[in-house]
């Protein structure tokens, strides 16, 4: 159907095109006639030729030239109303025809240039539209990709929180002995002071002063026990990661306070070398406590069997060459085989008889989620060193 339409259009435009020279030349004639003798005849005919070439094309342009020449010859060149041409009038005619043809030709060229320009512009328009459509498409794809990435990240975070919770629970059972120990101390003191208090009151005469002192001791030991429980509960709470600006030295000290009694009673000699004015880091306090606790407990357990040398636990904090905040936990225990140095961080890998193998893997993923890195190095002497680094918080 396209070809029929275009044919009709072509036909229509063809008739239309060849009508233009007729109309324009006729108009020129009429106007010139009516304004004679004040107007030169030739300019209007030039206009007619230009109009015909422009709107009609090459063919109509040539027709216009021919018609104009004939009309000029007939109506304005003597003899008026005759086609005969005197020799003397040939220069006149020539002076008309040649410029007429020339102007026709220029017009045609101009028209071609214009239509080429129009075509180029149209093509450009089309290309721009295509480009815009493509961009819109890409943009939509990107948006959906971003949305999916966001969903995936949320899923990962949830899994991490679940795993971290699981580790906390499992580390809890590993810690169960030391927790029981922390709480049993104040409990023992409470029971004995209570019993003593009763006996003081049952004495002859009752020793009220010492009974009161016994009560005071009971209260203070009760508070000590509840502090321990509070700290432990904080550690095992399943909370979504909560970012804040915090000081790594504080995190380390919190963890040491939590296991203070156990540490004091072990044969471990603790050396703490925490750099003062340590830059803050951004992270989840409970998660980082979890990591420090994991590393410190591992260190202590590595030294449980050691008999022939001192059990040294070194905890150091500072800033490394990159400007990151680091913490080192070094023990003098059973140490790591060179081949295990990286494997220890794998999930379910453990060298302990009753180990689960999740602690270090979780610790590493927590540190990495904080934008840091955690690694292990066997010592030159006995034992191993675990180190992690976190990017310092940007000062705003």
């Amino acid at each position: 159907m396209q070809t029929a339409k275009t044919f009709n259009r072509r036909l229509g435009s063809g008739l239309y095109a060849y009508g233009i020279p007729i109309v324009t030349v006729a108009s020129a004639l009429l106007i010139t006639e009516s304004l004679k003798p004040t107007v030169f005849p030739t300019p209007l005919f030039f206009a007619a030729i230009v109009i015909s070439t422009w709107y009609g094309g090459t063919g109509p342009g040539i027709l216009a030239v021919i018609l104009a020449t004939l009309v000029l010859d007939f109506f304005f060149v003597s003899p008026v109303r005759g086609f005969t041409l005197r020799a003397a009038d040939i220069p006149y005619m020539a002076q008309f025809i040649l410029p007429a043809l020339l102007s026709g030709w220029f017009t045609k060229k101009r028209k071609e240039a214009e239509s080429e320009l129009k075509e180029t512009r149209d093509q450009l328009d089309m290309k721009v539209q295509q480009g815009t459509a493509q961009l819109r498409n890409t943009n939509e794809k990107l948006q959906s990709e971003i949305a999916e990435r966001k969903r995936a990240e949320e899923a990962v975070q949830k899994t991490q929180a679940d795993l971290a919770h699981l580790t906390r629970v499992m580390t809890m059972s590993e810690l169960a002995t030391s927790i029981a120990h922390e709480v049993n101390q104040p409990l023992a003191a409470i029971v004995m002071n209570g019993s003593a208090g009763m006996r003081w009151l049952a004495a002859e005469p009752p020793n009220v002063e010492r009974a009161c002192e016994s009560m005071r001791r009971i209260i203070s030991e009760g508070e000590r026990a509840s502090e321990v429980i509070k700290r432990i509960r904080n550690l095992s709470r399943k909370a979504s990661p909560h970012r804040e600006t915090l000081n790594l030295n504080e995190v380390i000290q919190d963890v040491l306070a939590l296991i203070s009694t156990q540490l004091a009673k072990s044969r471990v000699l603790l050396t703490c070398d925490l750099k003062p004015n340590l830059p803050d880091v951004v992270g989840d306090r409970v998660q980082l406590q979890q990591v420090v606790l994991n590393l410190v407990m591992n260190a202590i357990e590595a030294m449980v069997e050691v008999r022939d040398r001192s059990c040294d636990l070194l905890i150091r904090s500072g800033i490394d060459e990159r400007g990151d905040v680091f913490a080192i936990i070094q023990d003098s225990g059973t140490g790591l085989d060179a081949e295990h140095v990286d494997r220890v961080f794998e999930a379910f890998f453990t060298t302990k008889v009753e180990g689960v193998g999740m602690g270090l893997s979780i610790s590493r993923s927590i540190i990495e989620a904080h934008g840091g890195r955690l690694w292990a190095v066997p010592n030159a002497g006995p034992g191993a060193t675990f180190q992690f680094a976190l990017p310092a918080a940007e000062i705003t």
Partner: protein
């Protein structure tokens, strides 16, 4: 245990609250207590010659309670030990008991548990002191014997007749009887059986006592 002796209980635990609570409890039943925060402090104490016992926490900074028990045993200091611990520590329990501990209590224990253990420990120490006193006494008496008398005593306690002893030692029966009488007197033995028991007790200290060298 003689009335003039007043037992004293020593407690070594690095946890001040526990130390003080034990002191409070024992004082409320009228016992003497001395508290120490470390084994070093304990070893630096001024010695008293009274029945005593030691309450020792298994886990102490630097030295394990068991290790300290070994040290005490090796040094010849004979003091009954009651272990206390905040952990379960089952393997340590067995070791500790085998090494001669009176008891092994897990915190938090009932006051009566501790008091009973202390009672047993102090009893044990009193008995040991009695025995030590007795042996010391016997030793003193034995020192009084002349070499000849000792020879006679050795053979008498083996069950030899005077005649046999005389033959063995190359003396007359009469001489044997005289020596025998001296031995019985000096050793303050009531009967032969008594003397034999004494010889037995002394045999750990004196090698040739029942077998003449």
């Amino acid at each position: 245990m003689s009335r003039s002796e007043h037992p004293i209980v020593f407690i070594v635990d690095d946890d001040a609250a526990v130390r003080d609570a034990v002191k409070n409890l024992l004082e409320s039943v009228g016992m003497r207590v001395a508290t120490f925060g470390s084994t070093a402090d304990f070893l630096a104490r001024t010695l008293v010659d009274d029945p005593s016992c030691l309450i020792l926490d298994v886990r102490l900074p630097g030295v394990s309670g068991l290790e300290f028990q070994r040290q005490i045993n090796a040094s010849g200091l004979e003091i009954p030990i009651i272990f206390i611990t905040g952990h379960g520590d089952i393997p340590i329990t067995v070791e500790a008991m085998k090494a001669g501990a009176v008891d092994f209590l897990t915190k938090p224990f009932r006051d009566q548990e501790l008091l009973d253990a202390i009672h047993r420990a102090v009893e044990r120490d009193c008995r040991r002191r009695e025995q030590a006193a007795e042996i010391s006494e016997l030793r003193e008496r034995y020192e009084e014997l002349t070499p000849r008398e000792r020879e006679v005593m050795a053979l008498v306690t083996q069950g030899l007749l005077n005649k046999q002893i005389a033959a063995e030692l190359g003396m007359s029966e009469t001489t044997v009887k005289i020596h025998r009488g001296q031995v019985m007197r000096k050793m303050e033995a009531d009967s032969l059986a008594d003397l034999v028991r004494m010889a037995d007790r002394l045999s750990t200290l004196y090698k040739g006592i029942t077998h003449p060298s």
